[in-house]
Structures are given as C-alpha cells and as structure tokens.
C-alpha cells in the first residue's frame, strides 16, 4: 500500500518493489499521472549536475577501444619469469619458444593473464580495504554522513565523477561506487580462468580496466577516511611528523601498528586521548598505517616504510604489535613472539591461525593476551583499550629484555661463517653480505654499516644460510650501534590537491612552463636503499618541478637530511606548485595524483568529466606533463596502481626490480601519429611520452628519463625548451654527455633553450636533424 499526497511539481521519494508499485497504480481508476516519475535513488536535482557522458560505469569492453589505441602505440613488452603455466591439471605446460599449452594458450597471453591476476589482486586489496572502511564508518556515523572536503575542493571525487558518473555526497554514495568495483573485479578475475581470454591484448585491456577500478576504489576509501577522521583536506601546512628509529621513545610502553588500515590505530588514539595517556604511551607505525594514523593525529610516530619492518620488530622495542592488512611479514607472529612482545591481529585478511577472541570482554581479552601472547580481535573498537593496557603490563615485564646480539656476539657469530657466498646470491639485490661477515670476523663493522643503510630486511640471506646465522639481527645491531641520528621528519599526508591550486598551475603544466609533475610512489624494494628516492626528489625540487609522493616513497623521501640537518619536507613547502613537495598520504591517496591530472583537464581546460573517461584520458596523455616513479615497486597493489595510472595516459618509471612484473609498455621510439582535432588531419609528432611504463637500471638513468617522459605534444616552444634544458643538463651532470636521442624531441628551432643554442644546434646538425613542418594544435589519439 502506498499513500501519496502530492501536488504538481513535488518531488517524491519512495522505496519499494517496482512490480508491486506499478500493478497497484494500474489497479487505480481515474488516476492521472502527469510529469515524470523517476525510479531510483537520486533526485532530479542530484542527477543534473553535469550532462552524462558516453561511458558511465564502464564494463570490461566499454573502454576497450581506448585501451587498444594505447596498446597500439605502446605494445606490451614481455619478460617471462617462467616458461611454464601450472594453473590447471592438464599442466604443467611448457610454453617456451612458441609452444601452446593444453588449453591453447601461448606465452604472451599467459604473461598478460598473470599481469591481469596481479592487477586484480591489487584492485581487490584496495576495494576490500575501502569497503571495510566505508562499512565501518557507515555503522558508526550513518549512511548520510556528508562528504565535505572544504570549500577549496569542490571537485571532491574526480575519479568517481569521470568513471561512474556519480558525484558522491554521503558515505552511502560510496557504497554504490564500491558495488561497481566489486562487480567488475569478479568479471575480470573470471577472465583468467582456464579457457577464457586467449588474446594478450585483451588480457592487457582487462588489466588496464582493473587498474582503473583500483584507482576508483582507493578514492572512495580515502575520501571516507578523510571526512570521517577529520584528516587534512588538502592542507599545504599539514604538520611535520617524526620519522625514524631514533624518534621512538623506548622508555615508554610502545605500540607498533603495521599495515594499511587506519581503523584499529584510530581506536588506540581515541582511548589514549580519552584517558589522558597520550604522553605515557608511544604509538608508532610502519607502512601506510603509519601514514594514516599520523593524518588522524600528529602525536604518533613513523618508524619507516616497509623496508624497516623486520629490523624494527627484531630490535624488540615494541611491546605490542597490532597488525591489520597488506604488506605485513607473514611470519610476523613468530618474529614478535621471539621478542616477548604481544601480537594482536585485527583483520580477516590476516588471521595467522590465531584464536578469535573478539567476543570476549576487553578485560578478558587482556588476560588472554598476557597468557597466550597473541590473538585475533576483529572488533576493532576493543583494540583501543586492549592494546594500551596490555602494552603497559608487558612493558614492565620486558624492561631491558635483550633481543639482539651484542657487538661482541656479532663478531663471534661472524666467525662461524664459512664464506660460501650463498647469502649474496639469495639477496634480491646481491648485496655484499658475505664481505660484511668477513670484515666482522675481525671486528670491522664497515660492511654491516654499509649494509644497514641499503638492506630492507627481507631475511633471504638468513633463510639460505647453512649456519643459521641471524644476519638481519646482526645488521640491525650494528645499525643501532653506529647510526645515532636516525631522526627524520615527514609532512603528514594532506590528501587531495585543492581546486585553487589546480587553477594556478593548470596552464603552466599544460603549456610546459612548469617542466613537469613527478610523483614518487610505491613500495620499498629499492636497489640501493631509501636515500636514492630522496635524492631524486631533491634534484627535481631544485629544478622547480612539482613533486608529489605517497606511501613508502613518501617516507623514503623523508629519510635524508642536508648538511643543516633538514629533511626535504622542512626545506620545501607542501603546496602543489613549482618547487613544492606534496605528500598526499598512503597507498589509497595515490588517487589524488591521478585526481590532480583529471582536475587539470576539467578545471583548466573545461573537459567535462561525467562518464567521459576516454576524452579525459586523451587530454591527460597529450597535455599533462606528469610522470610516476615507483622506484621500489614490489607488490600487486603497485602493479594495479601503475596500470591504472597508465590507462589515464600517465607514464611510469619503475626501478630495476620492476622488470619482474614481466610486462612493460614500450613504444618503438619512432614518431607517433595523432589526429589534429582542429583540422581533422592525421599528423606525425615526436614520440612523447616515449613509453607508458619502463624500467630504469639505476637512479642516474631514472633521473635522466624523468624530464623526457614529462614532454607532451601540447608543450609550447617555451615549455619544450624548458624541458629540453633539464634533459640536457641532467644528462651532462650524470653521464657527462648530450642525450643520445635529443634530436627526437626538438620539434623546431624554437624548442631549443637559448642558453644551449649553439651546443644543441651543432649536435643536431651532426645527427642530420630536420624540423617538423607541420605540428598539430590540438592532438588526440581518439
């Protein structure tokens, strides 16, 4: 039964089953209905904020045409790790040298399939994390809790607007976005089944789709946590947070949070505040949990990125370790118990075989943990009191407990080494572990000192050691003894880029006057320690690029100090402008980087966003000079993020370990063809950006590639000259020569920077360079 009392022009909301509603109506006699009845959740007012574009809520095939244009210019380049496929019981099948598997698959398609699976895993991680956040926050704050990122950010969700056509106004609206994400991931993953997709380009298109879904899901999650926890909303003066082993006050009970999910940590902070214990308990974090809890409060400290996880746990400073999800060592239980600390698992993704004690009261849980030293608590609200009270108790009993060998013991352990060299071989970076041991036998710790700076504590050296030497512990001890100044600072994650910032820098970026936006993102599988990321950021800050950062890379940037003892975050402002260093936040916050590129298209160039993916991405590809650098990319999430960024038309450089993702997108380095929207002609242009995802062997190569990958067809002569200046200057600085492919990127003489005119002209003449006779005013690949 539906009672309606309406007059003309009223907008009525009702919920109900559509069949029963219409049949009811049809049974009524003498009823006239005029006007429009819309069935759905949005009112007319909500729905008409912008005309809907051609591709809202794209399905797998919807943007395939866009993907195929990208893949035509940047074909997949495969480096298979394994010749085999062993996924089904017909196998294992040898796919080497053109052989087909039992299902008919070839090695290229198999690589595309693995890439798709990796991107789905990443997208599922972020979607699951965001769903958990949104679900939890709706339970605590309600579905109607508003999304308000302040007056300075009107385009609150550029990715959601573009991809789904939804402008989220409440937490409840984010559910619709996540419903779509989950649906797409199901379809995408199903395409990896035996006897599904058979074409490598279509696997890549699906991977690109998974990457886009990943980006969208991250935006939903980060927006939810920003509004619910009152995190910074684009504040350029977000507080500076203490970072590094040396910042952690060992005299207090220490709670260490590891993972990515802010919810348990937020309850710990809440309990401390309510009970005036903030100055008595030290809360610190590793990985993105650290970044996100320091966006909630500036009191916790950051130990460091993923690379410092095992070393910090081994040093035994933490009394309670709270884990949530993603990038946590899977042997964390064993490692924590060895130090006498207590482990609390808080997420269904990582249960570690522990007993679920969520149903017990907080006091019962505390008793259980004191006796059993580990437990699974899925009711995160209880974690607040439990973690704090257990830390207080455990700290007393663990006082002065030794968890690392003394330096004398390090020498005695080193003497047991037979110098077989397998530690070097098993080290992902082939570091000189054996050499460090040999020196340590004689009391010389130089090798370990050097190792400490670069090693990310994966423990593979220990795993292969026939003498079972605790190599990571030995390295950690030497580091503790010899590095006394491990105190750094990082600006708290500020979240989105403000619309007003985009208005200021949109034109200079698009025309090339700001030479580029460089985003340092991703994990910490660095070839040579965290410092390289900071030094790369420094190079481009000095050159007035805009530098943004997220996640483990944002922390790595903070782990270098100049001769005055200042980190880059203290030297450079947190504004999105030339020479600015912006920490957007955690892994989820990578969405604000693509969000900034989208906002440039919309706010500066008035490209409509709503359901208009391909046009926006085409704009970004041709006009927004940005490049991502995932120097230590390791995870499946990073693969999904990079692939999602690529679909938007933004190139990415990964470090040497990134080659193990098996797939790059490389052009042939020759001229590209585009259509000039102004004239309709197909025109040749220089190959910019040259590749969509490429590796660099070392940081010199990466630094020199960055200015090149920031070049775009839309650069004005002045803008291109600016970019070429940096390209040449950097090549001379790091390689002592002119860039060997410079002639490809000089369109006409006007592109040559004035101060290098003679040098470059002579070089171009030697190369037989000829200028472009025609160049498009408004390039597109659509």
């Amino acid at each position: 039964m539906i009672n309606l009392g309406m007059s003309y022009g009223d907008i009525v909301r009702f919920e109900g089953d559509i069949k029963s509603m219409t049949s009811q109506l049809l049974k009524l006699k003498n009823v006239k209905i005029s006007g429009t009845i819309k069935f759905g959740e949005n009112t007319e007012e909500d729905d008409n904020w912008e005309p809907m574009g051609p591709t809202p809520m794209p399905k797998i095939p919807t943007l395939r045409h866009w993907d195929f244009k990208l893949l035509d210019r940047y074909p997949p380049f495969y480096m298979p790790i394994c010749d085999l496929c062993c996924l089904c019981t017909f196998g294992k099948c040898d796919l080497s040298k053109g052989k087909k598997g039992a299902c008919g698959l070839n090695i290229k398609a198999q690589q595309g399939r693995i890439v798709l699976i990796a991107c789905c895993i990443g997208a599922a991680c972020h979607t699951g994390h965001s769903r958990h956040l949104v679900h939890h926050l709706i339970e605590t704050l309600g579905r109607d809790y508003p999304i308000n990122l302040s007056n300075e950010i009107e385009v609150e969700a550029p990715i959601a607007r573009t991809v789904t056509g939804i402008r989220p106004k409440t937490l409840g609206d984010l559910e619709k976005i996540l419903d779509y994400c989950e649906e797409q991931i199901t379809h995408l993953l199903s395409a990896a089944h035996t006897g599904q997709e058979g074409d490598y380009l279509d696997f890549e298109s699906k991977a690109l789709h998974a990457g886009m879904i990943d980006d969208l899901a991250r935006e939903a999650g980060d927006i939810a946590q920003i509004v619910a926890y009152n995190m910074p909303k684009g504040n350029e003066d977000a507080p500076l947070i203490e970072l590094g082993f040396g910042c952690i006050d060992k005299n207090k009970p220490v709670i260490l949070c590891i993972g990515h999910n802010v919810v348990p940590g937020s309850y710990i902070l809440e309990y401390l505040e309510e009970n005036n214990l903030e100055d008595e308990i030290e809360v610190c974090g590793i990985c993105c949990t650290a970044i996100d809890i320091t966006r909630v409060s500036e009191k916790p400290k950051i130990v460091g990125p993923l690379s410092r996880q095992l070393m910090f746990v081994r040093c035994g400073v933490a009394d309670v370790v709270v884990i949530d999800e993603q990038c946590i060592r899977t042997d964390i239980l064993e490692e924590v118990l060895k130090t006498g600390a207590v482990l609390i698992a808080t997420n269904e993704k990582m249960c570690l075989g522990l007993e679920d004690i969520s149903h017990l009261s907080e006091d019962e849980i505390i008793s259980y943990l004191i006796r059993n030293r580990a437990g699974l608590i899925l009711d995160e609200e209880k974690v607040g009191k439990v973690a704090v009270e257990v830390a207080k108790l455990v700290a007393k009993e663990r006082k002065n407990r030794k968890t690392l060998p003394d330096l004398n013991e390090v020498i005695e352990l080193a003497k047991q080494c037979t110098e077989c060299g397998w530690c070097n071989r098993n080290c992902p970076n082939a570091f000189n572990v054996k050499e460090a041991m040999v020196l340590a036998k004689h009391g010389n710790f130089e090798g370990f000192i050097d190792l400490y700076k670069k090693c990310y504590g994966c423990g593979r050296c220990e795993t292969i050691c026939e003498r079972n030497l605790p190599i990571v512990s030995m390295t950690t001890k030497v580091g503790e003894a010899y590095y006394k100044d491990l105190k750094f600072r990082m600006r708290a994650g500020r979240g989105p880029i403000k619309d007003v910032e985009i208005r200021s820098v949109g034109a200079p970026i698009v025309f090339g006057d700001i030479p580029g936006v460089v985003a340092f993102v991703g994990c910490s599988n660095h070839p040579n320690g965290e410092e390289e990321v900071a030094l790369m950021a420094k190079e481009f800050l000095e050159r007035k690029y805009i530098v943004v950062a997220t996640g483990c890379a944002a922390m790595a940037i903070g782990m270098w100090k100049d001769k005055d003892g200042k980190t880059l975050y203290e030297k450079y402002p947190g504004e999105f402008r030339a020479g600015g260093l912006v920490n957007c936040g955690s892994c989820l916050s990578n969405c604000h980087i693509t969000g900034a590129a989208i906002k440039i298209a919309n706010i500066f160039a008035k490209v409509p966003l709503r359901g208009n993916y391909a046009e926006v991405a085409d704009y970004i590809l041709n006009k927004v000079g940005a490049v991502g650098v995932a120097w230590g990319a390791m995870s499946q999430k990073a693969a999904a993020i990079a692939t999602g960024v690529n679909r938007w038309g933004i190139p990415v450089i990964v470090g040497p370990h990134g080659a193990k993702y098996r797939r790059l997108y490389l052009s042939n380095g020759e001229k590209f063809k585009v259509k000039d929207k102004t004239t309709g002609e197909i025109v040749e242009i220089d190959p910019v950006p040259e590749h969509l995802i490429v590796t660099a062997e070392n940081y010199k190569e990466c630094i020199c590639m960055i200015p090149k990958l920031c070049m775009r067809p839309n650069d004005t002569p002045k803008g291109r000259a600016n970019k070429i200046y940096h390209y040449v200057d950097l090549y001379e600085k790091y390689f002592g020569r002119m860039p060997p492919d410079l002639e490809k990127f000089v369109r006409t003489e006007k592109d040559i920077p004035f101060m290098m005119k003679d040098k470059i002209m002579n070089y171009l003449e030697e190369k037989g360079w000829k200028p472009f006779e025609k160049y498009p005013k408004n390039p597109t690949i659509l």
Binding site: F77, P428, H657, A659, K700, M705, R737
Partner: protein
C-alpha cells in the same frame, strides 16, 4: 628450456668469428681494469657496442635486438638480476644467440661464463684477447 650452458673464452671467440653480426651490450658496473680489457676486446673484434643505460635503455635494447638481424649478443657490466629478467624477452621471442661474458652466471642467456672471482674474471678477459 634449460638454463644457460657454461662457456669459455675460447668458445666465445669462436662464436664471434662464426657470427655474421655480433653486438656487445655494455653496462656500467665494471672496474677500471675490467673496462680497459673490454675496450681492447671491442677493438680487436671490431664489435658494435651499445652502452646501457648511457646510450639506450636495456629494455629498449632488447626490443631492438628482437627485431634486428643481429645474430650474436654479448652482455657484461649490467646489474645482474636486471639483465636476468630483461634477457628472457630474447629467450622467448627471438632466435638471437645470447652470451653473458660477465663474472656472474646468467641463467637466462644461452651461454654464460660461470661465477668468477674478480681475479678469475680478469684472467678470462685476458684470454678473450689472446690469439
């Protein structure tokens, strides 16, 4: 497919002499002494050389080689695990004969020197110059 077969300086010299179009992909990670010997080796055999990353990105080199008519590619001085991954592209998608003449055994080239100490490697490079 099997991993790389261990080879010797004598066999490498023979492979170069028998090849129609050999090329050396030269990385930066060699010591001064090793580089001097490699320079002489390049001169002796009049080898085409591409320096990486200075002249070209290693992946772009692999893409280029797979589509070229070079029939023998030698590698040295490149970050070990990086080359191991990059060269799988040639392993699967090209018929070019790949040889690592570095001091680390490279599993994914067709032929490779074994793991060598610094002194042993210098000896191997000197042997490449003999004859």
């Amino acid at each position: 497919m099997a991993h790389a077969e261990i080879t010797t300086p004598t066999l490498v010299k023979m492979m170069i002499k028998r090849s129609k179009k050999p090329i050396l992909i030269l990385g930066e990670n060699l010591s001064k002494d090793e580089m001097e010997l490699i320079d002489k080796f390049i001169e002796k055999y009049n080898l085409k050389v591409i320096k990486t990353p200075e002249e070209m990105n290693l992946m772009a080199i692999m893409k280029f080689l797979a589509n070229s008519n070079y029939d023998l590619a030698l590698f040295t001085g490149i970050t070990y695990y990086y080359l191991a991954q990059a060269v799988t592209h040639l392993k699967q998608f090209s018929n070019i004969v790949t040889v690592s003449i570095d001091k680390y055994y490279q599993p994914n080239t067709l032929y490779s020197f074994p793991n060598l100490s610094n002194d042993e490697y210098i000896d191997y490079l000197k042997k490449l110059l003999e004859g």
